[in-house]
Each structure stands twice: as C-alpha cells, then as structure tokens.
C-alpha cells in the first residue's frame, strides 16, 4: 500500500513551508528562509565582486582565473534558489513524485560548469607558464595620484575573499538542517574561496617582486582547485541521480535513516523481517519497504498504514513511503552492510 499523509503536518502546527507535499518542521522552515536570504545576498555580493575584479584584473592571469571563479560562484546559489522554487511545487499528474529532483539537476549543472571551466583555466595557465609570459602591470591614475595597478588588484581580492569566508560558514549548518546538497556544495566551496583570493594576491605581489611565473603559477593552483570542486560535485550529483542509497548532506556516510527504517519496522509485532530502499530525491527521501510478516500473520490494513506512519514519524525527510507485504524479501535488493556511518 502506498499513502502520503497530507494532513499530519498541519495538525501538528506546521510551518506552512513545503517541499512538495512534505511540510517542513518549524526549524527547517526557518533554515530555509535564512538560506534563501543568504543565497540572495551571495548573488548580489558576487556580482559586485565580478565587477570589481573585472575592472582591476588587467593582464594578470591569476586575477583572470579568480574572476572566472567568482563568476562561477554565482551558479550554485542560483541553482539553489531555482531548485527550491521548483522543489516546493506539489506533485502533479505528470510529475507524481513531485519536483524534488530539481535539486539534483541544479547540482549536476553546477558541477559540470565548474569542471569544464576549471580544466580550461588549467590549460590556459599552463600555456602561460610554458611560454614564459611576463604579465605587464603598469600604473593607474586615480584622483590625481599615480600608483601601481597591482595594489588595486590586491584590494579587489581582499574584498572578494572576505564575503565568501563568512557566507560559506553561515550556510554550512543550514545545509545540514535542510539536507540540501546544492547548498552544501556552495557553502563548502565558498568556505575555501578565501584561498583563491590569497592565491591571486600572491600572484600579483609575485609580479611586483619581478617573479613573472608567480602569476601563472597561482592561476594554475586556483584552476586546479576549481577542477577539484567540479569533480567532487560531479561525482556526488551523478550518484544521487543514479538513485544511490541516501547519504548524509555532505555525502560522507550513508544516511542513518536508511538503517533506522528497517530497525523501526522490526519493532512492530507483526513484522518478521524487512528490506528497504531509501533514495534521496533532493531534500526528501523516497522509502520503499518490503516487509515479511511473522509466519501465519496477515497484516491488516490498519497495521500496514500504522507501519507507514511509524516510518514517517522517524524524520521530516521521510515523506514518500511505500510499505509492501511480501512472502519473501526481494533478492534484488542486497542487504546493507552493518556499519553505516
């Protein structure tokens, strides 16, 4: 039997925030509101960064690379905002599972953008190094003063380095509360973005010291860090879309709920054994539990519905639950190893 309970949340004084037909608990609803606000701030901030860095980049390869990374940093927040917007839609006849996968699509898009551009920049920087290009940075004249343009670049990178450092750290706990992997990817990358800024500053100051290779060298390291981000995210986005067993928000471990579903079912008096599939649809989980009743017991409709309720009460993320009584546990689903995170 399959049933999705629409009323439970509102009875319990729900938050009025929804992911599809899953109503968010107040804590998550607040996290979602904060996350959306932070991502809007991120987008606005990064647009100013892109403008400032573009205006000062001159012919520094490291600055050019940092500029592209700043521009790419717009993709994850936008992917988050778009996927949250679509993910809250309720299921329709054409989309019976709802629109939660929008998160996965956003994640994959962001990953491919990172990977492709990272590789491009790595090749670009390597060519600059091989050709031994000496980047020219002259002076600028501002308000009647002439000074070396490198100082402007350093100032621009200090500005672009500070924001992500703070924003990333603020977004990380929200990603855990919301179980949002796009938000996590975004926060995780931003948290480390200050090193991009530091690298670009090192490159520019290196030019100032007459070390022409410092610039392209810094650019190469920055582009490799973009490639790394892209590769990691591509890996996780792809496995999630392949219906991998649900994992924690940071993809470090199998999600504890995958184990707790079977544990919760085993406690029911009429259940002998169970085997379940838990997949992450983006924010919420889709649970299919195959249950073998104790010998001679035929579960009643109430018992089956009660089992689904037990699972739904485990966590707000467990929202689309199917409990199927079977004579034998399906062999097509391998038993999970007994040591999930």
């Amino acid at each position: 039997m399959s049933r999705v309970d629409d009323s439970a949340g509102s009875e319990a004084g729900g938050s009025g925030h929804w992911f599809g037909h899953a109503e968010l608990p107040p804590e998550q609803a607040e996290a979602l509101t904060r996350a959306k606000r932070l991502e809007v701030i991120t987008v606005v901030y990064m647009v100013t960064c892109v403008t400032v860095v573009f205006a000062t980049a001159g012919s520094s390869q490291a600055m050019k690379t940092a500029w592209v990374e700043d521009a790419l940093a717009l993709v994850p927040p936008l992917a988050f905002l778009v996927s949250v917007h679509f993910g809250r839609r309720r299921p329709t006849a054409d989309h019976p599972y709802g629109f939660h996968r929008a998160t996965g699509v956003g994640h994959l898009t962001a990953a491919i953008a990172l990977l492709a551009v990272g590789l491009l920049l790595a090749v670009d920087s390597t060519m600059s190094l091989l050709r031994a290009e000496h980047p020219p940075i002259g002076t600028v004249r501002l308000l009647g003063h002439t000074f070396w343009a490198g100082w402007l670049m350093v100032a621009a990178m200090v500005y672009t380095g500070i924001g992500p450092f703070i924003l990333g750290r603020m977004k990380l706990p929200l990603a855990e509360q919301l179980h949002d992997k796009v938000l996590f990817a975004d926060a995780d990358m931003q948290k480390a973005d200050w090193m991009t800024a530091a690298g670009a500053i090192a490159g520019v100051l290196g030019i100032g010291l007459g070390l022409w290779w410092a610039d392209a060298g810094a650019a190469l390291l920055i582009s490799l860090s973009i490639v790394r981000d892209g590769w990691t995210n591509l890996h996780y986005a792809t496995t999630a879309l392949m219906d991998e067993r649900a994992r924690t928000y940071d993809d470090e471990h199998p999600h504890p709920l995958t184990r707790r579903v079977d544990e919760a079912l085993a406690v029911l008096p009429w259940v002998d054994d169970s085997r379940s599939r838990v997949r992450d649809q983006g924010h919420v989980f889709h649970v299919e539990a195959f249950v073998r009743p104790a010998s001679g017991r035929h579960p009643t409709l109430d018992e089956l519905e009660g089992a689904a309720d037990v699972l739904r009460e485990l966590d707000w993320k467990v929202h689309d639950v199917v409990v199927v009584p079977v004579a034998d546990l399906p062999e097509t689903i391998p038993a999970p190893e007994r040591n999930p995170g």
Binding site: P136, W148, L209
Partner: protein
C-alpha cells in the same frame, strides 16, 4: 587534493612575507629582466623609433618630433643618454622582445596590434584625428613593470605630454 589549498596558502604566506620583509622596496614593482636597473647602470636608454609625422621625424640627424623630445626628457630623468635605433614597427617589436632595446616610440596608439607581444604604457595623450580619438602609448618590453611604471609616472608629470603635437 587538500594539498592544493595548502600549497596555495603557503605560497600566499611566502610571498606576503617576502613582500613585508622588504617592506615594499623602492624597486616595487621590479623588472623580471632588470631593464630599468640596466638603463641606470649603463647610463644608456636604448630607444627604437618608427617614423610618423609629428611624433617621430627622421632626417639626417637624430630623430626629432614630439615623442623624440619626450624620450630625451625621460632619459634625462634617468640620467641616461638616448641611443636611437630607427626601424619599422615590426622590427621594433622584435627588438623589444629580444631585450635589445628598452623602449619603442612611433606615434603608436592603444589599438595597435602588438598588445600581446609588448607592454603598452597607459595612454598619455589623446588626439582627435579624422573624427576619432587616438590614445597614444609607448612600447616597453612585456612585463618589465618597473620600467613601465617609471615611464608612466614620468609621463603623468609632464604638463605638455597631453597636448597635440
């Protein structure tokens, strides 16, 4: 791959330390190939000139014209004598790239085609020609930032540099 970030960090720290250690020295930015120091030590500024009416006039004697006067002034500023090489634009770019001259003039504008081969100074003069604005620049060896910065500062300080020839 966390090493990449660690290396980035180390590199940043190293260069920052190096920068602070010398407390932004007088020769900041420095020339990778030491062109400006070379001019000062030798007392000779090797200048390539391509003829262009009003800017570089080439007769029997040394080049004359507006940019020739500017170059002489800049050489004075560096306590150096000018050593002229008169050639076409492409040849001058080759000489700059090979480090055989320190500076090239010839009424070049900031839209010239050699921007990926040589360093161009910030435009120091804007001139109306046939309804469009020409922004004039000089050429220096690519990435010789001490020389380029010194020249740009000096040009900024010339009250006459901005006027038409």
């Amino acid at each position: 791959m966390a090493e990449i970030r660690r290396v980035l960090l180390l590199a940043a720290a190293a260069v920052l330390l190096a920068g602070c250690g010398s407390l932004v020295p007088d020769d900041f930015p420095a020339d990778p190939d030491g062109t400006l120091d070379g001019v000062r030590e030798a007392g000779v500024l090797r200048v390539g000139a391509a003829p262009r009416r009003g800017w570089i006039e080439v007769g029997d004697a040394e080049p004359a014209g507006r940019e020739a006067r500017l170059v002489a002034g800049f050489a004075d500023h560096l306590a150096a004598e000018v050593e002229w090489t008169v050639a076409g634009e492409e040849e001058l770019v080759r000489l700059l790239d090979g480090g055989e001259i320190d500076l090239a003039v010839g009424g070049f504008t900031d839209t010239n085609a050699w921007v990926t081969e040589v360093g161009l100074t910030r435009p120091y003069s804007e001139v109306e020609v046939d309804g469009t604005t020409e922004a004039h620049v000089m050429m220096v060896p690519m990435g010789e930032n001490a020389l380029q910065s010194e020249l740009e500062r000096w040009l900024d300080a010339q009250p006459a540099a901005g006027r038409a020839p």
